[in-house]
């Protein structure tokens, strides 16, 4: 049995120790907001927070998150009120939307560590997330907007 916390709730799963966290979230816990895109930490679709850090869940063995706190897109806020989600809505970022949970998790981890990122900071943090629809320009705008919302007292 492997035990960890996802979105504030404790789970115990009986799965192979090398099973990636992504598939435990999706197939065992039914949390399908976290996406599969490449299986090799190349595209960022599967990004979740493990103890606050952005992690590619497709290459993270579930055994390595034992006892840790995981946040997925479903747990970022109960009502899409996280500054990053608000900014994504206001800038109308998503197109197909498939990569966006990963983009949002990367952006929110960046802003937790660096509340006022420069364009270069954004390049560095978000370049691990691919968007085939090419929403990068709006993502950049939305990250700056989210930083503004946070600076104005919006909740993290």
């Amino acid at each position: 049995m492997i035990s960890f916390k996802v979105n504030g709730k404790v789970y115990e799963v009986d799965v192979p120790v090398d099973m990636p966290l992504l598939w435990v979230l999706r197939d065992n816990l039914g949390l399908t907001g976290t996406k599969y895109g490449c299986g090799q930490a190349l595209c960022g679709c599967c990004t979740v927070h493990v103890n606050g850090q952005a992690v590619r869940s497709c290459v993270t063995p579930v055994s390595s998150v034992m006892g840790k706190e995981i946040v997925t897109i479903e747990g970022l806020s109960p009502d899409s009120s996280h500054p990053v989600q608000q900014a994504w809505i206001a800038e109308d970022v998503p197109q197909c939307g498939y990569c966006q949970p990963g983009q949002i998790m990367s952006a929110s981890a960046l802003l937790s560590a660096n509340p006022r990122p420069t364009d270069e900071d954004i390049d560095q943090a978000i370049s691990s997330n691919i968007c085939r629809c090419g929403t990068y320009q709006r993502i950049r705008r939305a990250v700056h907007r989210a930083a503004d919302i946070m600076a104005a007292g919006g909740k993290k």
Binding site: W23, D27, G30, C38, G39, P94, C96, P101, R132, Y136
Partner: protein
């Protein structure tokens, strides 16, 4: 869109609070790309098929197009809402089931593609809204015993001249019983309140909280997951296989041969993956086992030495070449390209003895249903298909053979349980149906004033239509129209033109890829025009402009982009601009790229200024997003994209060896929209074709190196 719609047409025609009736309106067909199919199509429509008004004031629009990022589940509801005079905040969206009423009126199929959605639905959706509005007004007038002409509709209410009012929710049930108007009068576009506004997309909320359901995300009780092992060479078959190790993996239920593949069926993805890794298969690789990109390049180059089937001939191109004062020759090459949608292909099938239910993100509902029915041995009416969100389409999810749906049904047939067949990224990358590779040979002649008088273009590349159900309709005199689009219709005033085509048959499955033929012809035509401008000693913008006197819309975007980009003004050292203009899907786009090329050869695209004329603007924010998207998609391909073959095997497998543009390579993109009163035309694809030549022309301007082969990373 976040819930799977589970309605048959019969159901929603019956439901109580529906505005419905037997509206039958003749529908004007502006053009038909699939004429034979359109002929057979029932050219009628029913407001009830597209609209439900709830007693709670909810306006539910049923969208017959697949949402793959292009914003269609916002733009079509905007057209309905414009005429309905409803409260936009009450508008909801459902994905349509499969039914002839939802067919694309041009294609005669329920499908999303060809950048046609707004263009072909612009009349019908407004008529749906207008008919429903008239029925609501009629119901109120009857209730109040007043003339309909003394009532008006506004923001979800019918208001009488006396001031009394009823909401649409209060009127919905009675309106449903009103006769459907035989004639509807549409608003003059100058009165539009919704169309033309940059409204936020309706699908965004479900795409920022993880609730939006893609095909990959759907689960049903008792569902199993399958991964499929395929021959590493296209067309290969199973010689023998040993499943003993695969079956030892916990969670693997069975390992079965399905036609020319082996399916590993398991409780979940990870078990199926580990099972497939342990599977041992000996393949009969078939006739294409020695195919290589290098050999194909040589074969294509040799073929291009002689003219092919004639696709266009103006004047006397052979004779005219003899009398030119300057001749320019060049060969251009582009590779196979994968679509690489962010969501790999997948299909969930629940096959029973008398029914087949399918969940997948598809662009091709009618074709998929037909193919699924054939494989299942059922009537098409017994196949129910649920269109989920699509994690990107770009043409890949409109497969004429329904490859990913047929595979799902074939596996379900053997497994006899609900099963979702999943493609890993590797499967998706190596699975074929690529944009074809092309070789273009060009010869042009200039007169003594530097004006082009002759243009010869010979193309060599596979036909997409060959072997597909559309071959007969789309191929005339051996010429697949999609092979030469953008090459036969060059707008420049050149008196002698010869365009010819060779369509070799090769065992690599090919398919339409965002902008189809334009994806290669724009690169070739707009790069070679640039070569001619330099050969004539003329400015590339003015050179084009002088040859577009009879093409005001082409010239309009050319001028606008040049002006907004500051064409001709100074740039920082090391930077240069390139321009390219191309029309596709009835829209016109010009892009000016600002590029630097470092000493190590690294190309950086700093900025792209685009001008687009896609007729009347329905949602400018979505148009901007689509042009940005088209540019990024085309730039990924231009800089890095190539699927190559060696020993019959695809050499790429994932985003490490099939590189795409990331945030750190993203240029600043400006989109300038031409204000137009023409009917709306395509916007999902037209932004893609001009970017490769704009960047290549800028590289020439910066370095003097002419890019004649894509991707740019292969030569710079």
């Amino acid at each position: 869109m976040s819930e799977i719609v589970n309605l048959s047409r019969r159901n929603f025609l019956r439901a109580g609070s529906i505005v419905c009736g037997g509206l039958v309106l003749a529908y004007y067909l502006p053009q038909r790309i699939f004429p034979a199919l359109a002929e057979a199509n029932d050219m009628t429509y029913y407001p009830a098929a597209f609209l439900r008004i709830g007693a709670d004031e909810t306006i539910t629009t049923i969208v017959n197009k697949s949402e793959m990022g292009q914003g269609v589940t916002t733009s079509l509801p905007m057209l309905i809402a414009e005429e309905l005079e409803c409260d936009w905040s009450k508008v909801r969206v459902e994905a349509a089931p499969v039914d002839a009423v939802y067919n694309n009126p041009v294609a005669g199929l329920q499908m999303t593609g060809g950048s046609m959605s707004v263009k072909t639905e612009w009349d019908r959706m407004r008529k749906v809204g207008a008919a429903a509005r008239m029925m609501l007004i009629g119901a109120a007038a009857k209730l109040w015993k007043v003339k309909a002409s003394s009532c008006r509709a506004e923001n979800g209410k019918v208001i009488h001249s006396s001031g009394k009012a009823l909401t649409y929710g209060q009127l919905a049930e009675k309106a449903a019983l009103m006769p459907v108007p035989e004639k509807v009068v549409l608003k003059d576009p100058s009165k539009f309140k919704i169309a033309g506004k940059p409204l936020l997309r309706l699908d965004t909320p479900a795409k920022v909280n993880g609730k939006g359901l893609f095909g990959f995300d759907v689960t049903i009780p008792g569902m199993l997951t399958a991964l499929v092992a395929r021959s590493p060479v296209f067309g290969g078959k199973v010689k023998s296989f040993d499943a003993s190790k695969a079956k030892e993996v916990p969670g693997v239920r069975e390992v079965v041969q399905v036609e020319s593949r082996i399916a590993v069926v398991a409780d979940n993805f990870w078990a199926a993956k580990r099972g497939r890794d342990a599977l041992e298969v000996v393949w009969d690789e078939g006739e294409w086992a020695s195919l290589s990109t290098q050999a194909l390049r040589e074969q294509f180059a040799a073929t291009a030495q002689s003219p092919g089937m004639i696709a266009r001939k103006d004047g006397d191109p052979e004779k005219a070449l003899a009398s030119v004062s300057k001749q320019v020759n060049a060969d251009y090459e582009v590779p196979f390209l994968a679509h690489a949608t962010m969501e790999p292909l997948n299909c969930l099938v629940d096959l029973r003895s008398e029914s087949c239910e399918i969940w997948t993100g598809t662009q091709f509902q009618t074709v998929d249903r037909g193919n699924a029915a054939r494989v299942a041995g059922l009537d098409p009416e017994k196949v129910r298909s649920h269109t989920t969100l699509l994690g990107g389409g770009f043409g890949r999810r409109a497969n004429p053979h329904s490859d990913f749906v047929v595979l799902g049904v074939e596996v379900a047939k053997v497994v006899k349980k609900p099963v979702k067949v999943i493609w890993t990224r590797d499967d998706d990358m190596k699975g074929g149906y690529y944009r074809p590779m092309w070789h273009s040979r060009l010869t042009a002649g200039l007169d003594s004033d530097g004006n082009p008088t002759v243009w010869h273009h010979t193309l060599v590349g596979q036909s997409i239509m060959a072997g597909s159900p559309f071959e007969q309709m789309m191929t005339k005199g051996g010429i697949d129209a999609t092979s030469v689009e953008g090459a036969v219709d060059i707008p420049y005033a050149i008196p002698n033109v010869l365009v010819s085509l060779h369509s070799p048959r090769i065992g690599v499955p090919v398919q339409w890829w965002r902008s189809v033929g334009h994806s290669h012809t724009a690169f070739v035509v707009e790069s070679f025009i640039d070569e001619l401008a330099h050969a004539a000693g003329k400015d590339p913008y003015q050179f084009r402009r002088a040859m577009l006197a009879n093409h005001p819309r082409h010239r309009g975007v050319l001028d606008l982009a040049a002006q907004k980009a500051g064409w001709g003004t100074a740039l920082p050292a090391g930077r240069a601009r390139g321009i390219a203009m191309h029309a596709s899907f009835s829209s016109f786009v010009c892009e000016v790229a600002e590029v630097s090329a470092g000493p190590s050869g690294r190309v950086r695209v700093h900025k792209v200024v685009s001008a687009v004329d896609c007729g009347r603007t329905i949602n400018p924010s979505i148009i901007e997003a689509q042009v940005e998207s088209g540019i990024v998609y085309g730039l990924s391909a231009a800089l890095y994209g190539a699927i190559t073959l060696k020993d019959g095997r695809v050499e790429q497998s994932n985003f490490n060896d099939y590189k795409v543009l990331r945030m750190d390579g993203m240029p600043v993109v400006e989109v300038h929209i031409v204000q137009s009163k023409e009917d709306p035309s395509g916007i999902g694809e037209p932004g893609t074709p001009p970017i490769a030549p704009a960047v290549a022309n800028a590289i020439f301007s910066a370095t003097g190196q002419r890019i004649r082969r894509l991707p740019i990373s292969a030569t710079v």
